[in-house]
Structure formats: C-alpha cells, structure tokens
C-alpha cells in the first residue's frame, strides 16, 4: 500500500513539473502587447496567441473606414448634437428633466461606439418641464403680458388624466426699457451662477443628510413625528431650490412618535406631510434585517413565503425596486421560510456531509423531524432548531454524524460553505483516521463486486416481472408492464378546480415614451422649432379666437 501511494505521489510530481516547464516556455500573450505594436510582435515571435483571437484593435483597412466614430453629445443642445452627428440619423424622445429644454440627456450608442454612416443614434432630450419657475416680484404681476408669450407653468404632471390644478406663475416681461423691470428676477439670473441646487435629504438619517449637505451650514430642529427618530422630515429650502455654499439649510428631524397629548396637538398643527418620493432600493437576496434597515424611510411589512432560498432571505418586494414611493409608505417584503429547499442526497451518508447538513439545517431554521429521530443511546444530540432566525439557532456541531444522517431529513439538505466550518465537526475529525484505515481494505472487493451485484439484481427483477406476468395472464387479468408516461393534463379535460391554488393578477402600468420619426433634417429642424416655441402658437390661437 505504501509503495502504491509513493508511486502515485511521484507520478503527480513529474506531471506537475512537466506542466510548469511547458507553461514557462510559452511566449507572453499578444493581448498584453499594445495594439499598435501587436502585429510586429506577433510577426517577430515576441508574443504568441494562446488561442485564435479576434483582434478588435483598429486596423488601417476598409473595415475601419466603413464605420464612423460616434461623438458624445450628452449635455449639448439638440441643434449642436445634430451638428455633431450629421452622418447619422437622429431619433429623439423626451423626458421630464430639470435641464433646459432640448438638452441631450442620454444617447445610444455612446462613445466610443462606431457606426456605419446613416445608422440610427437615439437621443433622449430634456423637455425642461422640471426647471424651477422664474420668480416675479409682486409689483410686476399687474404688468401687461407680451403679446405672444404664454404663461409657463410649474412642475408638469406625467399623468394625463386628473391633472390637479397648478398655480400659474407669471413669466417675467421681456428685457425692455422700463426701470421697474430691474426688480424682476430673470431666469437664470447672473447671481444664480454661484448658487447650487440644494439636494433633497428628506427621509435620510441626520448623519446622511449632513454628509449630503456638506457645502452648507445645517441647522437642526427636532419635532415629534411618526417617522423614525433621527430622520429628516422637512427641510428649508427644499430641493431643487438653489443656495449659495455656506448658506444655512434648516432641517427638521423627527424625535420619534409623540407620547403626550400636548405633543400630539403640536403635531396636528404642523404642516401637512411631505409629498416627496424616494426611489425604492433593491433589497432582494438580502436578509430581512438588512432590508429593513435599508428601507428605514418606509413601513416594512414582512410576509413569509415558501421558498428555496435560505430562511430569512428577502426574495421579493412590492412595490418593485426603482419605484418612486413616498416615505412612510408600506413596503411588503416576501421573505423565504426556507421550507422548499431542494433536497440533495449525494454524499449525505458520509460523515462530513452529515455534519455539514446538520449545520445547514441548524442555520436554515425549523425542520420537521420525524418521530423516529431517536439518537443512539449515549450520544449527545443538539436540540432540533425550532427558531426561525439563523442568529438564534444553536449550532448542531455536537451532533454525531450517524445520528444526523439517520434521524433528520435535514441531513440531506445541500451543504453550504458556512456549514463546513472547522468548529462544526470536532468530534468527527478525531475519529476519521481510524475509520478510514479500517475501511480501506474493503474497497477493492466492493468495487469488484458491484458489476456482479448489478447484473444479479437486474436478472432478479426481470425474472420477477416475467413470473408476475405469467401469473396474471393465467388468472385472466392483464397487467400493463409498459412504462407509464405522465403526460401533462390536457386543458380540454375537465379538471376539478383545486381550491388550494388561488391566483390574483394585477397590472403595473409603466411609463410611455414617444419618438418622432425624422425623415429629413429640414423637417427635424421645423419640429424642433415648433416644440421649443409652442407657447407662441398657443397664444396665437387665443388671439385668433379671442
């Protein structure tokens, strides 16, 4: 036996040494050579290709001249973007944004992409509707409006139906000669150039808000609120107002729910709740506790569902991640209870697998233990985990491997990496050497007997089937010994509705986008002019019919 082991080790050593020598003789890969020097290096043998490669470095041939580089136009006005992308077809769509109307927000494809001439480049333009409205001095409200200027309005609503009334804002008069117009704050005033947009910190913790408002001076006040203590429930000025760095921003921080009546009355006197919305984070595949803390601004509701994921893991959330939700709204998290973990029997009868499976079972939470789960006398068995959170479970490290594999179905659960930690199986490791030494001589004989046993079992089964068929034929009965195939149930066959399965469907409506199909540059320019100057057209309609 020792000689065999020595020979095996020697063989591995020789193989490893030869492989090392082969690898050392390989030239360095051409992919590590700069593209400009690659061809020369490849020709001179200074580098080599391990496998056939497709070289994507720019070549000086026709292929390169067939495509043109796409310039970056993000941040440019649409007209400028058109000027830069004259060799391509431009498709555009609009999106509400605080950027000036017609500014390119996104482009697809983006540099350094290359496209053939005439290919389509899609750009998303700002419609400018989220820009803060210009402010007008009170004395200017009675000023007569310019003839073709329509009043712009605040904060367009994406929803079409039931648009709530929005207060009209009077547009500043055009730059003219009267001295009173000096009091009008034009949009954007020159003084605004050094002012920055105040970020929205509603719903954040005090610490996060301070970090976010690093450029400003923060004044804190506390107020009882149903929001979690320490979270910002109001700010002044609110986003997207502009403020000079160093200017003070007043934050109202929740001090937690009010305990007495006076505080409750004071809370009633507060302004109405903030209607800001926050983007919902994706908390799937995180533990419930992590998800709960990540969604501190919301009311988190836990719903246990049957799942194959480990117990306590979030496997679904409603509303979906990325939704815009008001702080304090209810968020439902679907948390797996781990009850549908797929059983794996391979290796479950080995000591290590049994131990790791027991540890996995302990980590996964409640496991239905059959009544026959009686450990052998004299062994120490860890209590069956009956708690639901992994942190509260007792590690089943003391469970003997045999007891674990025989008594609990959890022993067949998949072994997880954490279940194989050294502290999970101290008793096993002490007995392993003796067991392996005892079993080693039996291995060759068992291996040799396997084919014989298999053939014998098959013959036995065939004889039994033949005997059964003869007996049933002689007694007048027919038995179907053909393998049965379970076909899926046909929909036309009347199936009794299973009351145990219930469905509830709903539709989550998404945003819509519009894209005008440009046929020529001229038409495009006309459209652009029209879209950017529709106020004048609307006013013109009023004049005609007024």
């Amino acid at each position: 036996m020792r000689a065999k082991r020595f020979l095996t080790t020697l063989g591995f050593a020789v193989f490893a040494a030869s492989m090392t020598a082969v690898v050392a003789q390989q030239p360095r890969p051409c992919s590590s050579v700069p593209p400009t020097e690659r061809a020369a290096a490849r020709a001179s043998g200074a580098c080599g290709d391990i496998a056939p490669i497709i070289d994507t470095a720019p070549q000086n041939g026709d292929a390169a001249s067939a495509s043109l580089p796409v310039s970056s136009v993000v941040g440019l006005a649409f007209d400028d973007a058109k000027g830069r992308l004259t060799r391509f077809q431009l498709r555009r769509s609009y999106r509400p944004s605080a950027e000036p109307g017609g500014t390119v927000l996104e482009q697809q494809p983006a540099p350094p992409a290359r496209l053939p001439a005439g290919a389509i480049v899609r750009v998303v333009l700002s419609d400018g509707t989220l820009r803060p409205p210009p402010k007008v001095a009170a004395s200017e409200i009675d000023e007569p409006r310019p003839a073709r200027a329509a009043p712009p309005v605040q904060q367009p609503q994406p929803a079409v139906a039931n648009v709530p009334p929005v207060a009209a804002v009077i547009e500043p008069p055009p730059p003219a000669s009267t001295s009173r117009e000096a009091s009008v704050q034009s949009d954007p005033p020159l003084a605004d150039l050094d002012r920055l947009a105040v970020p929205n910190v509603l719903g954040m913790s005090e610490k996060s808000a301070r970090t976010r408002l690093g450029r400003y001076r923060v004044e804190l006040r506390e107020r009882p609120s149903s929001a979690p203590a320490g979270h910002v429930i109001d700010q002044d000025p609110k986003a997207p107002a502009r403020a000079t760095p160093g200017q003070s921003i007043r934050l109202i921080v929740s001090s937690g729910p009010a305990n007495n009546r006076a505080a409750a009355i004071a809370q009633k006197a507060l302004p109405p709740p903030i209607s800001e919305t926050l983007e919902l984070a994706n908390v799937a595949n995180r533990s419930f506790d992590e998800a709960n803390s990540a969604l501190a601004e919301f009311r988190v509701r836990r719903v246990e569902v049957a799942g194959a994921a480990p117990n306590g893991l979030v496997i679904g959330q409603s509303p979906a991640a990325g939704s815009m939700v008001q702080p304090g709204s209810a968020i439902t998290l679907q948390v797996s209870d781990g009850s549908l973990a797929a059983p794996v029997t391979t290796g479950a009868n080995t000591p290590a697998a049994a131990t790791s499976a027991a540890a996995t079972a302990a980590a996964n939470g409640p496991v239905a233990t059959p009544p026959a789960a009686t450990p052998p006398a004299g062994t120490t068995v860890a209590p069956t985990p009956a708690v639901t959170t992994p942190s509260e479970t007792t590690p089943a490290a003391e469970t003997p491997p045999a007891a674990a594999s025989e008594t609990s179905p959890a022993a067949s659960a998949p072994a997880t990496p954490e279940a194989t930690t050294p502290e999970a199986a101290p008793p096993v490791s002490t007995t392993e050497p003796s067991v392996s030494e005892v079993q080693q001589p039996a291995e060759p004989s068992l291996t040799a007997l396997m084919p014989v046993l298999g053939v014998g079992a098959l013959l036995g089964l065939a004889l039994a089937a033949f005997w059964l068929a003869r007996r049933n034929r002689s007694s007048g009965e027919m038995i179907d010994i053909e393998p049965t195939i379970n076909l899926p149930a046909e929909p036309d066959v009347a199936i009794a509705p299973d009351p145990e399965i219930r469905f509830a469907a709903r539709v989550e409506v998404g945003d819509a986008q519009i894209e005008f199909i440009a046929t020529s540059d001229t038409a495009d320019a006309d459209l652009d002019d029209e879209l950017d100057s529709e106020e004048a057209t609307i006013e013109h309609s009023g004049d005609r019919h007024g």
Binding site: Y94, R95, G101, D127, T129, A150, P151, V153, P156, P158, A159, V160, A161, V163, P164, P165, A167, V305, A306, G307, A308, A309, I315, G316, A320, Q334, S336, L340, A341, P488, P491, I495, P497, E500, I501, R502, F503, A504, A505, R506, V507, E508, G510, D511, A512, Q513, I514, E515, F516, A523, D526, L527, E530, L531, E534, E535, T537, I538, S541, H545
Partner: protein, 191 residues
C-alpha cells in the same frame, strides 16, 4: 371618443403561455419547481385571471406617450389652470412605446409563492394623430394609420406577440392635408 381604443384582436393569453412562463420561472425560482405540476393543471385558471386584468387600452398608453411631448405637456398644464376652449394639436409620424407588467400572485394552500412578473411591451406606430387638449386632459380627435404590436415576455423569453390595428378611432380627416406651415407638430386652431 373617450371610450378608449383597443387592440383589434385581444391579446388572448392561453394556458400554454402560462405554462411556458411557469416553466421558465421554475428555472429561476426553485420554490416553483415543487409546485410546478399542480400549477400546470391550474394554468387555465391562471390564464383566465391574467386575461381578466389584461384590458389593453391603447389610448391610455398613447396618452401617456403624447403627454411627454413638450407642446402637449404645456397645453395640458395651461388648460388645467385656465378655462379656455380646447387646443388642437396635430402630431405627425411617431412611435409610442411602453412597458407594463402583469403580475400574477399565486397562493398554494394559503401560502403565497413568489409573484410571477410578465412584461407587456406595447409599441404603437402612428402615422398621424390629432389631439384636443381640454381641462388638463388629452382627447383624441383622429388617428390615422396606427398599428400596435404587443409582446408578452417573461424576462427575455417571448411568450406571445401580437400585431394589430387599432379600433375605435375615426380616420384622421386631415391626413391628406399638410400640417400648418409644413411642421410635424402644429397647434393652430380651436374647435
């Protein structure tokens, strides 16, 4: 005109579509694999439930797209705050697309399984549309040569695709008449 316009032929989800979706979903969600067989038997009911909520109102989808056009958006806002006769807006050839989600909640033995989310992509190619904006709402005056493609998907797996014209809107009486000043969007008169 506000009755809505529907797909020419409804996007009828069959039990086969549901079965395929469940099959794909079971690959991603092992919790489904155990309940897959009984759920397949109930696929017909699931399809009926999905069809019940799947009332494809193309006009509503088009309205959401049209509302993103700056001219239309501002007309909506203006008409919401100022009582005035409707504004007529004509849009030339364009394409409106949207993605909604059909979410199927499943309870087996009063225990909820992870929801099955199907994406419903709608893409409408419109040759021209004439809209009236009044009191903060878009009303469709006329729609010419519009077609809608609806695709039902589970992730990237296409379960059903259906192309159709739209029913319920008259043809655009202005379709052979160039828009004012040859512009592709025009806002030029009241009705």
């Amino acid at each position: 005109m506000d009755d809505g316009i529907k797909l020419g032929t409804p996007l009828d989800i069959s039990h086969d579509d549901v079965e395929r979706a469940l099959l794909e979903y079971a690959k991603d969600e092992p919790a489904f694999s155990d309940a897959h067989v009984p759920l397949r038997n109930a696929a017909q009911r699931a399809a009926a439930e999905l069809n019940r909520v799947l009332d494809v109102d193309v006009l509503e989808m088009l309205r959401r797209g049209w509302a993103t056009v700056p001219a239309v958006s501002r007309a909506i806002q203006l008409s919401a705050v100022k009582k005035a006769p409707p504004v007529i807006i004509r849009l030339d050839e364009h394409c409106v697309s949207s993605t909604s989600h059909l979410v199927l909640g499943i309870d087996v033995a009063q225990k909820p399984l992870p929801e099955l989310r199907l994406a419903l992509e709608l893409k409408a190619d419109v040759q021209s549309a004439t809209l009236a904006v009044r009191e903060g709402r878009i009303e469709l005056v006329a729609l010419a040569d519009a077609s809608v493609v609806a695709r039902l998907k589970y992730k990237s797996v296409l379960l059903k695709e259906h192309a159709s014209g739209v029913n319920g809107a008259p043809r655009d009486p202005f379709r052979n008449q160039p828009a004012a000043s040859e512009r592709r969007t025009s806002v030029d008169f009241y009705i």
